[in-house]
């Protein structure tokens, strides 16, 4: 039997980016807040030290900071006709575990979604007609507009010290930034990162083909920075160990480097680590969450009551938690009924490798996670889609993130995968090759969804979640179009050769692509087509909020973290200003 613990005002499930934001905001509002984190405490001096963090084997290939499938994983299949099998080792995406979550091992590429994204159905219909949206694409507006979210984007970007160049300041286009972005109320808090030869060559090529290059907005600090909470970050050293690693220099924004030094010292905040929440418990009406059940490292089970519960684990665990707790109606693709697990989406990331002449020495190890030049000309609805047969797009970026030698295997088309010829090609091109990549949007599809697996279970006896996902016609047509643009950009860099690598036709869970899983507990204007309302409050259980990329009704052609951060501040503000004054549904169904 679970031991019942004394109640707290607010309980946070998961202690990554969203957990830190929610706990900071709710403790500021005077609540007693408890966070339960399944993994360990982690901090810069103890766990990310530059004495050992630059270890490619341990962090990239032995998954040291990532979720262990041995404890919890999911099953996967491309289509409902197949039998899903467990993801036995990590591959396509790398969810984190422990304090800071996946936010400690990100690259730090920080983009706002476009105004178009939040009203995608309305605007697509207005420009192209309702028939432009295929019958199998449950495209939905987000129930929040860009204009409403804008102040919260700014809040997150200032907390995280983003380095970048505004392209649209209060409606005025500004040179050097992204001309397609929505208006921002404030400039970035820090100037852009320094660019290196490879990214400059791409920028020139982009201008040559008439595109509009701008520096990637970056959570790697371009200079020393003190954020609005008084927490200090140091300048990036371009060490080349961002994504899949934590930062040893306090130079990459994450919960530890932006919020925790303040939050952890508050008397009304408590964190428990190695505490895996296995269930959210409802009262007999099914309308109110009363507690969570969690298991500690000894296997002891506890019941923790709370007045307010915020679920902010990784998106896949948010959906899994709702499914195993029996909260909401699971989506059924055969009828289209139910909402939980619906609109699961991901990112489409084909690339073009560019092999430059030997006088172009790129020193790829002088890099940073968000050191790159971007073009947004073929993203969102920034270009006319008439007759193209697909919606949305993606940004094309040229990053110099690293020269880590196990991972950096850039060899020209036709090179064998091993042996003398492989070795010669690898050595010849290591200093002279780079990649362009697409951050491609994934539109929702009727047949892409999350539910519970009938066969496999995890270390806690819960059924695993089952992911049914494939790239559909929209993604494949969009990829063909974008590959044409990328190849054109690559050729404009005057290479000796290029190598195009498409994704698909079927989504493959083996090669790393991105940790940009989205959807499954989506936001919307109506409980018939969404799990949470515009404030990320559960439609059925009003004292439960579900924050994170699980709320995205589709995935845009950008990295998701800025939008996750903005939505989290938006939800926290609604809790503080509306919910706490009058607990109950903030939107009437």
């Amino acid at each position: 039997m679970a031991s019942k613990l004394p109640a707290v005002d607010a309980l946070m499930i998961g202690f990554g980016w969203t957990g830190a934001i929610i706990c900071q905001e709710l403790t500021d509002a005077g609540l007693n807040v408890l966070a339960l984190e399944r993994g360990n405490w982690r901090d810069t001096p103890t766990d990310f030290s530059p004495a050992f963090i630059q270890d490619e084997l341990r962090y990239r290939y032995r998954d040291h900071l990532f979720q262990e499938p041995a404890r919890v994983t999911l099953t996967f299949r491309n289509n409902s006709t197949e039998t899903a099998l467990p993801m036995r080792e990590l591959g396509s995406f790398l969810p984190g575990t422990g304090v800071g979550g996946s936010g400690i091992h990100w690259n730090g590429q920080v983009f706002r979604f476009l105004p178009y994204d939040f009203q995608i159905k309305t605007q697509t219909t207005a420009r192209y007609g309702a028939q432009a949206i295929p019958a199998d694409m449950p495209l939905q507006d987000w129930a929040v507009t860009y204009e409403e979210l804008e102040p919260y984007y700014s809040t997150f970007e200032y907390i995280a010290g983003i380095s970048g160049q505004a392209g649209n300041l209060n409606g005025q286009k500004t040179a050097g930034g992204n001309p397609f972005e929505g208006p921002r109320s404030k400039p970035y808090p820090n100037p852009p990162m320094k660019q290196v030869l490879g990214t400059k060559l791409f920028g020139k090529a982009a201008e040559a083909v008439g595109a509009h290059p701008f520096p990637c907005p970056s959570a790697n600090m371009s200079r020393a920075y003190t954020n609005p909470l008084g927490v200090q970050l140091g300048p990036c050293t371009y060490c080349g160990f961002c994504e899949k690693y934590a930062c040893g220099n306090y130079s990459k924004a994450c919960a530890q480097t932006t919020i925790l030094p303040v939050l952890m010292r508050k008397p009304n905040f408590t964190l428990k680590t190695q505490s895996e929440v296995t269930r959210i418990n409802l009262d007999s009406t099914g309308k109110r969450a009363v507690s969570v059940t969690y298991v500690d490292a000894q296997g002891e089970e506890y019941e923790q009551p709370a007045e307010l519960i915020v679920l902010g684990a990784y998106i896949l665990h948010n959906v899994h938690m709702l499914l195993t707790s029996g909260i909401g109606t699971p989506y059924d693709p055969s009828t289209g009924k139910g909402t939980l697990g619906k609109n699961y989406a991901y990112q489409l990331t084909p690339g073009v490798d560019v092999f430059l002449p030997e006088d172009k020495i790129l020193n790829p190890f002088v890099g940073a996670g968000a050191l790159g030049m971007i073009v947004d000309d073929w993203n969102g609805d920034n270009f006319d889609h008439t007759g193209l047969g697909f919606l949305h797009g993606g940004y094309i970026g040229a990053y110099i993130t690293n020269g880590r030698p196990i991972e950096s295997e850039l060899v020209p088309e036709g090179t064998p995968k091993w042996g003398a010829k492989w070795k010669q090609a690898l050595v010849k091109n290591y200093l002279h090759a780079m990649s362009l990549g697409l951050m491609g949007a994934v539109m929702p599809n009727r047949d892409n969804y999350l539910d519970l697996d009938p066969t496999y279970s995890d270390a806690y006896g819960r059924k695993l979640m089952r992911m049914t996902f494939d790239f559909r016609q929209n993604e494949l047509k969009m990829q063909d179009f974008e590959m044409g643009k990328m190849a054109q950009l690559a050729q404009a860099m005057k290479p000796t050769s290029i190598k195009q690598t498409k994704r698909g036709p079927h989504y493959d869970i083996v090669p790393y692509q991105s940790t940009h899983n989205t959807g499954g507990a989506i936001m919307g204007a109506n409980p018939s087509d969404s799990v949470v309302n515009r404030y990320l409050q559960h439609w059925d259980v009003s004292n439960l909020f579900v924050v994170g990329a699980s709320a995205f009704p589709h995935n845009s052609g950008y990295n998701p973290t800025d939008t996750v951060g903005a939505l989290t501040y938006w939800a926290a503000d609604a809790i503080r200003k509306q919910y706490l004054k009058s607990p109950g549904p903030l939107v009437q169904a």
């Binding site: 004495a51 036995r88 493959d508």
Partner: protein
């Protein structure tokens, strides 16, 4: 700078026990804690890695070692550019990996039921990497002995070895009880890891892999270099435990 690196090295040695616990991938009850009113920071509680000590095989039998030393050298052969996998210590690296958490698939989901699945569903073998190596090497040598009058893989010519490896890579080679293509994929990946991982794990001997490419290793600070466009980096590589030139002569 050298002084700092020596300090780092002593610190790493002291952290071996902690690293060993962390490397298992299991739940560590000592890590479960309640934090209240503080930023916990325990000096020397760092999450240090575990370096390989000595050059003795812990996992491979003599027959297995003969296969690994030969096969990895075919995957990354010695040439004018630098040493091959054998001289770079790749077999020792793989041996220690198989003897540890990786070999046991400590982090992987290894519960049944088992099915082959589609290629997009990934690794579905019930064998962990250690078992896979053991079974595959035995099956390959048995296959070669039957076909080639008692010869082992290591006794074949380089061309014959390459042909067999190519057949494994393409899935053409049918081995008894073990999937040759799965094994080849793991072997090739581990060979590249051993060639280019930090030398503290037993491979990349004398940082030969890094020198071959021009990768400076664990330097971690290129502030002075970010503004230098198209200029070859000049400083020699360093590993996480420093580099030989920094070791005091006793």
């Amino acid at each position: 700078m050298p002084h700092d690196r020596l300090g780092r090295r002593r610190f790493l040695t002291a952290g071996v026990a902690a690293g060993a616990a962390a490397a298992t991938g299991a739940v560590d009850p000592a890590q479960a804690r309640t934090y209240h009113g503080e930023v916990p920071w325990l000096p020397h509680a760092a999450d240090a890695p575990r370096p390989v000590r000595g050059d003795t095989y812990l996992f491979f039998t003599a027959e297995e070692a003969a296969f690994i030393e030969t096969a990895t050298e075919r995957l990354i052969p010695k040439d004018d550019l630098g040493p091959g996998a054998r001289d770079a210590g790749v077999p020792l690296f793989i041996d220690h990996q198989l003897d540890g958490a990786f070999g046991r698939a400590a982090r992987w989901y290894m519960q049944g039921p088992w099915a082959k699945g589609t290629p997009t569903q990934g690794f579905q073998s019930r064998m962990n990497p250690a078992e896979l190596y053991r079974a595959a090497i035995k099956a390959i040598d048995a296959h070669v002995k039957a076909a080639r009058g008692g010869k082992t893989f290591a006794a074949l010519t380089a061309d014959e070895q390459d042909k067999l490896l190519t057949d494994m890579e393409s899935g053409k080679l049918d081995l008894q009880g073990v999937d040759a293509k799965t094994f080849f994929t793991v072997l090739l990946q581990n060979t590249k890891e051993g060639m280019f991982a930090d030398p503290m794990y037993g491979g990349n001997k004398d940082m030969a892999g890094w020198k071959m490419l021009g990768f400076p290793g664990a330097r971690y600070d290129y502030t002075d270099w970010v503004g230098k466009q198209g200029v070859r980096y000049t400083l020699p590589p360093v590993g996480i435990m420093g580099r030989p030139a920094w070791t005091p002569k006793s």
